[in-house]
């Protein structure tokens, strides 16, 4: 009695806490396979033994439903992500965050790859909203995902970044300061969860999906800066 | 021991070189002789099955080896080939190289100890090939081929890198291989002495063709061959047989086509066949034998012909009473003093010490 959960990397840390809580409550082991949502999708299409898929976006769970690989009724948004502007130590963090950023003060500005990572796409929208896209174009660097943006920060290779708000709650985060980006500066970052077809009769998986909706899990989600879509 | 006959009729084309040979092995050792690049190595490789483009027929006894396309691959021919470049296995010591051959031995051959001893490679057993001198490597390669117990032995200049003393010690071992193990040996060499001391037959190659395949004595005794065999001085080679032995003076009476010669030297058993070389410079011609009274190997001879020899010399063909023909080369001064004309009778002193021991075998006369 164990279940296999594929989870978007950005949600790995909260998920581990949730899984621990679930495990002690239900005596069901949760085996976690973190990674990029695109890869998870490809693996699921090709028979990956996952029971629950916690994606980084809405598109790919939806597509699995459309392709008959996931249970349509189970689809729901388990978390909504927020962005923060992060500056490394020694750099000036404008009072009004991104809006007040002087492009000249930026050496390198890191975001996740907008083509592959939902947080990257949101970051790009936020930059555009703030009117900084053109000013920063020659200083933008693209990481594979948001956690890699943090590595750039941690190694001092970038001075500014847009990362997930959840990172600010994590242990081991790089030094620096941050400001929340207003939620309306970008399309909502909705992360959907879905039950996969192979687990449609798996009570443990169903229980786990239910558990994420319970208060204990919501509390953890909130603690990590994720919003919950009711 | 009867030796299965090797028959071949082969052809190999290379850009700028064609080997085309037909013939069959004769019992004993066949010396393969010829100038550098004439195809000796290539011939051995074709027989061994190492030249995939070789066409034609090869058979040993009843076994068909090649019938336009290989019937029997090289490794099934049980040929022993000592390569011109030793080709020891670099990852094995000398002992390892020998053990490799011994483990795959499929037929009797000389004992390991005997070979190691004769070739003087006992002290090298733990050496790697990279630590051997040129001659040492060559000896190990020869040893390796011998202990493998081949059914046909092909030797490509196996003694070329060795000093005279070593050669002398090794030649008897090679010489007795055919009789002892009933196999034929092809022996590539540039050394006439090795041919004379070991080979029964001589194959002469010129530009990929076999232009001579004869008994060694006939080959060397034929004037037409002297130039081709590498500027030989005129000579005859006789096969002889020991008639008697004078122990006191360690002297042998040897029956030859020219008569009975008296030859001192290391003991040879009565009845044994030996080979005698008489070069034109080994013969002294005299009008009378007076001052030679009592000296051995003085024969009355008759002049058969006279031809101009090398610069300033006359080559005199002579015949003993027994009918054996041989040659003497004299300068014009001596020639005129001797009043040489065809048919004249003279005395010929043949110098002993010109004898070569013929280590092998009796079969020669049986065959001849």
């Amino acid at each position: 009695n164990s279940i296999q959960v594929a989870v978007a990397s950005n949600f790995l840390v909260p998920l581990k806490e949730i899984a621990a809580a679930f495990q002690s409550a239900h005596q069901i082991e949760v085996r976690i396979s973190p990674g990029a949502t695109g890869r998870h999708y490809a693996q699921i299409v090709n028979g990956a033994p996952f029971d629950v898929f916690l994606a980084a976006d809405q598109a790919r769970p939806q597509r699995l439903v459309d392709e008959g690989l996931a249970v349509a009724e189970s689809l729901y948004t388990y978390a909504q992500g927020r962005l923060v502007l992060w500056v490394s130590p020694g750099e000036l963090l404008p009072e009004d965050g991104l809006a007040g950023l002087d492009p000249a003060a930026v050496r390198r500005f890191g975001i996740a790859n907008p083509r592959t990572a939902p947080y990257g796409k949101a970051a790009q929208q936020a930059l555009a909203f703030a009117g900084l896209e053109q000013a920063l174009v020659d200083r933008l660097v693209y990481a594979e995902n948001v956690t890699q943006v943090l590595q750039y920060l941690a190694t001092g290779n970038i001075t500014h970044a847009l990362v997930a708000a959840s990172h600010t709650f994590m242990e081991g985060k790089p030094a620096g300061e941050w400001r929340l980006i207003p939620a309306n500066w970008h399309d909502p970052i909705r992360q959907d969860a879905v039950l996969l077809k192979r687990a449609s009769d798996n009570d443990a998986a169903l229980e786990f999906l239910a558990f994420i909706k319970e208060d204990q899990a919501k509390e953890i989600l909130a603690r990590y800066g994720y919003g919950v879509v009711e | 021991m009867s030796q299965p006959r090797l028959e071949f009729d082969i052809r190999l084309e290379r850009p700028g070189f064609t080997l085309s040979m037909a013939g069959q092995s004769r019992p004993g050792i066949t010396a393969v002789f010829g100038t550098s690049g004439c195809g000796k190595t290539t011939f051995l490789r074709c027989i061994a099955g190492l030249e995939p483009n070789c066409r034609g027929q090869v058979r040993l006894g009843d076994e068909v080896w090649l019938d336009d396309h290989p019937v029997r691959p090289a490794y099934q021919r049980n040929v022993g080939l000592v390569f011109q470049d030793a080709r020891l296995f670099a990852h094995l010591t000398v002992a390892g190289n020998l053990a490799y051959a011994l483990r795959r031995r499929r037929r009797e051959g000389p004992a390991l100890d005997e070979v190691i001893d004769t070739l003087g490679i006992g002290h090298l057993q733990q050496s790697l090939p990279s630590m051997l001198s040129g001659g040492e490597a060559q000896r190990v390669a020869l040893a390796r081929a011998l202990v493998a117990g081949p059914s046909l032995l092909l030797l490509d200049e196996p003694l070329a890198a060795l000093d005279y003393g070593r050669r002398r010690r090794i030649m008897p071992l090679i010489s007795e291989i055919p009789e002892r193990f009933g196999i034929s040996v092809f022996y590539v060499t540039h050394a006439r002495q090795e041919v004379l001391e070991m080979a029964d037959h001589l194959m002469l190659l010129e530009q990929g063709q076999c232009v001579l395949h004869e008994r060694v004595d006939t080959a060397f005794s034929t004037p037409a061959n002297w130039a081709r065999l590498g500027d030989l001085s005129p000579m005859v080679v006789w096969e002889g047989r020991v008639l008697a032995r004078d122990e006191a003076h360690s002297c042998h009476q040897i029956d030859t086509p020219g008569g009975v010669l008296s030859v001192p030297g290391e003991p040879i058993a009565v009845g044994q066949s030996v080979r005698i070389r008489i070069r034109s410079s080994d013969v002294v011609l005299l009008r009378s034998a007076d001052s030679l009274a009592g000296q051995s190997n003085v024969f009355p001879v008759c002049v058969i012909s006279m031809t101009p020899g090398g610069a300033g010399l006359v080559l005199v063909q002579l015949k003993t009473g027994a009918g054996g023909q041989f040659w003497s080369e004299v300068d014009w001064q001596t020639a005129s003093q001797l009043q040489l004309t065809e048919g004249v009778e003279l005395q010929a002193l043949i110098r002993p010490g010109t004898m070569r021991r013929y280590h092998a075998v009796q079969h020669f006369f049986r065959e001849g």
């Binding site: 890869r39 693996q43 990956a48 941690a154 | 190492l50």
Partner: protein, 223 residues
């Protein structure tokens, strides 16, 4: 002593190298001696897996080995298990991806041996396979060493393709490379450093041993 992912990686590397030698040795030999006109094409083909990014290769392997794939389909029908997300699948992927590192040094080593020693062995009555194992292979020892080192090290470090095909299932496909990656993902840099350092030290010791022994064994003249 070894944590799960490390142990799994070592297992994977060992199995992969063994399989690679089994496949790569005859292939390298053929490439070394063949006069076939297909040889250059096979030579080129062998290097191709390298050209693809690991995740992309992994993606294609995922399709190929998946339950509907050309290889994975029949396997599934036969065994009832999928090849993907299994140790076997990882081995197949690693083998394909490390093939050039094994085949090319071996091929070069066999060519360096040349026909001479094999001919000599033949003349001592060694059959082709006998000569191959007793002469060609020992003389190509250097190539085997390089093939093994490259194959082993590359499998240890390989990641993209393995992650794609294996899916990071603990105890089954979660190799050390993935484990380190995941530590980094959750910003647990200390653990990542520790695991990396362990991997490096372990590998260095193994390699040092291998090279020292190898050196001792051959004497100065060869190498």
């Amino acid at each position: 002593m070894m944590s799960g992912p490390v142990w799994l990686s070592v297992q994977l590397a060992v199995v992969t190298v063994v399989v690679l030698l089994l496949i790569g040795t005859p292939l390298a030999w053929w490439l070394a001696i063949s006069k076939s006109r297909w040889r250059s094409s096979v030579d080129a083909l062998v290097a191709l897996p390298l050209v693809l990014p690991p995740t992309v290769l992994g993606f294609y392997m995922l399709i190929l080995l998946g339950p509907e794939g050309a290889v994975g389909g029949p396997w599934f029908d036969l065994t009832g298990n999928t090849l993907t997300f299994s140790f076997t699948g990882l081995v197949i992927t690693s083998v394909l991806y490390s093939l050039p590192f094994v085949v090319q040094p071996l091929r070069d080593a066999f060519r360096s041996v040349g026909p001479g020693p094999m001919e000599a062995a033949t003349m001592l009555g060694a059959r082709p396979t006998d000569a191959f194992f007793t002469v060609a292979c020992p003389l190509a020892a250097r190539g085997f060493l390089t093939a093994i080192v490259l194959g082993f090290a590359h499998t240890l470090g390989e990641f993209g393709a393995v992650l794609m095909v294996g899916g990071s299932i603990p105890g089954e496909t979660r190799v050390v490379a993935i484990a380190i990656y995941e530590h980094v993902e959750v910003l647990n840099y200390a653990a990542a450093h520790q695991l990396s350092a362990g991997l490096l030290i372990f590998s260095f010791i193994v390699l040092l041993l291998v090279y020292s022994v190898n050196r001792r064994g051959r004497g100065a003249s060869i190498g």
